[in-house]
Symmetry: C2
Subunit: 501 residues, 2 copies
Amino acid sequence: MPSAARKTQERERASMEPPPADDYAKERYGMSPMIQSQEKPDRILVRIKDLTVERADEVAWVRGRIHTSRAKGKQCFLVLRQQQFNVQALVAVGDHASKQMVKFAANINKESIVDVEGVVRKVHQKIGGCTQQDVELHVQRIYVISLAEPRLPLQLDDAVRAEVEGEEEGRATVNQDTRLDNRVIDLRTSTSQAVFRLQSGICQLFRETLIHKGFVEIQTPKIISAASEGGANVFTVSYFKSSAYLAQSPQLYKQMCICADFEKVFCIGPVFRAEDSNTHRHLTEFVGLDIEMTFNYHYHEVVDEIADTLVQIFKGLQERFQNEILTVNKQFPCEPFKFLEPTLRLEYREALAMLREAGVEMGDEDDLSTPNEKLLGRLVKEKYDTDFYILDKYPLAVRPFYTMPDPGNPKISNSYDMFMRGEEILSGAQRIHDPQLLTERAQHHGIDLEKIKAYIDSFRFGAPPHAGGGIGLERVTMLYLGLNNVRQTSMFPRDPKRLTP
Amino acid sequence: MPSAARKTQERERASMEPPPADDYAKERYGMSPMIQSQEKPDRILVRIKDLTVERADEVAWVRGRIHTSRAKGKQCFLVLRQQQFNVQALVAVGDHASKQMVKFAANINKESIVDVEGVVRKVHQKIGGCTQQDVELHVQRIYVISLAEPRLPLQLDDAVRAEVEGEEEGRATVNQDTRLDNRVIDLRTSTSQAVFRLQSGICQLFRETLIHKGFVEIQTPKIISAASEGGANVFTVSYFKSSAYLAQSPQLYKQMCICADFEKVFCIGPVFRAEDSNTHRHLTEFVGLDIEMTFNYHYHEVVDEIADTLVQIFKGLQERFQNEILTVNKQFPCEPFKFLEPTLRLEYREALAMLREAGVEMGDEDDLSTPNEKLLGRLVKEKYDTDFYILDKYPLAVRPFYTMPDPGNPKISNSYDMFMRGEEILSGAQRIHDPQLLTERAQHHGIDLEKIKAYIDSFRFGAPPHAGGGIGLERVTMLYLGLNNVRQTSMFPRDPKRLTP
């Protein structure tokens, strides 16, 4: 440790001196020895969220962080926090606490973790800033379990302040780089806790729904020998005496599992894109929720399954994560997410007509630009009152070589994107399962056949028709909650300029 | 496509010529056009596993692979396969089938996918080689949906043959490299289908159990800026104009989530080890099931939670995956997996005593070699009748720098491994949550403090005591099923010599 840092730390510890010998409360406070699993006491720690009037007049032990601390004459008010819950604790000079003990409590740095023993007391006026509004804790003992350094790189109260409130009232907010640089603290806010609990819920609902539908979870390799999709935007890895690549998607492996008779597969895993894009919605590493399945006669069988999976996620979030949604909304106000059942499916040509009517000039085979995607999202919302829809039958020219062409029109394809609040969250298609057509399409795209030989060979021993798609977890989280940057929904985001923490 | 391959394909297709015009059954068989989602017929395809006597005399459409085919005079017996299920189908000259149609059916290459319409008929003698023993399908129509090439790189029947049967009866088995080189076909066997369905079940049970216990799923980055565990055995990635590393474990990120108040977290994701080990149990990329959680006073609180999670997985597999276990056992016979409740926990010194009694010479601070681990597994099995146990309190010297030392004995540590059938499947410990002690231990290990500054800084703003561990998914699958190579339980294994498919 640099000696400056060590000195700082010594100073901090010095301020937490052991109780003087003549203090009548000296056994009741102090620095706890570092918990090294010395003993297994039978003490029960009560969760802060369980401190309610039902426990009035009981003695409870609680472990929490010092969220705020305010000394006032012979007493000190602490707010103890545990995840998104907090409670007021009062240390007051009296039978249990000496003047020195109150001073000790008042001097504990914010964010330190303490064990507190106290009597739960019903209060007559609700406590405004706390989740436990009807009780407070009258502290009888307080020990520091882990001492925080005195200067926090950001204040939690600033980090949860709505931007509009910050602007109107001239109060501090925290900018994104400061948050990300100090992510351990930023993730402690009620907003972050809610965002990532909800994200965990998205994964859970995705899997629950698919396992219920008979899907099998697969694990696909991330280190691959050849860049299957042409070689652009791929990260290179040194692999012993040779080199390899990081998979840009589990595409090939999902399809191999289909050719291997697993029929319906999904996977959740990292996806890597060496794309030098510094936008609100691009990351170089993100989490893909991937689906691939066989169908009988028409790829809409798959589209319907994927759309229903997303609908089940949206419903599950509404049912199980209402508190989290409300918590995030407090800081980032947003309209509730709307969707239809069954999901709206528009064809690309219909979308083009809507955009042209709104004054956009686009050719039949042009791809949608980001601004046009957003405009289309607004037009669809106005007309159909939904934040979620499917855009089907993209021009063949703007899709990857393995996309199945439409059977009737060689300029369009059996492919689709899905959108939330006007932004793409899933891209998918019927894949070509015939090795001869696949070869022709790869040649048409100028792809070196040698490099994709293993891919094409996978289809030579009987391949069922199949389709699938990949969903970006961070985008779904961001757009469901109406946030505006994908870095808010990635715990430790990676972009061309950020590799830490 | 190389012209030789194209010629082969043309020959194959030529053998599947269109029916002659004078054939009275000509509408009832042939090559189906490639399914390009031309239409949405209302035809229902019956699953092969649902072909039972309850459906006797009904007409059913079935899609399956040609598993075997045997022509005999005016009839042809096909076995149609769908995942692990199969049924006999009979094409016989008569009202519905012409001589040409029977010949067509007999000529379809094995592993091709066909749509068959037939009448379900009860049989009077059970059909030996099929899962559907009480019925057969009398074919009225047959169309090839996807034609397999005629020469398969391996035969499915060979690939499921027990080694002992192969040796004793001189019948073919398939070696591992051939399997892995042609994984798409190898994964179609009943054994592979069972292995990977069970593996999907392990992930599902792991998550179900932990979510029930109040854990949150997190997503940790795989591309990292510094090799946190010292820099050995790490893969380097080119990252735009700079370079980065692939994470050897989610260790740091799990711990940051603990410092960020998530309290109980888990993740499932790829883990990368650039270790040049060519053994039966090492992979360069494997799937880690990782857990980290805070505890109140003793790390055994965490050990108990992890052990219980594994026990819930073992129980769930027994309850829900009995068929899969039996299927794998047919090819790879093995004793059922035994475990105790609560899980047996031995201290390292007790293990040493057992090994010494068995004649092994080892110092108190020596690590266990692989042969000694296996020997210990046998000794424990004999004495306690369990295939699963915890080894607690490893010597401090053999564990990573961030391991919490034992409070009473500076030579041992609050760390543990867990074993299945005598092989390590989990390594874990109480982590040091005090930045000062962490700094001292890193210095003791000669680690450059600058490189782990971000790691140590994570603990400066209040850190709760915590412990955790990482489980290797492929190892758990292998050892639960009593297999002997981790490549059998990785769909697309990666080792120093294998990067494909």
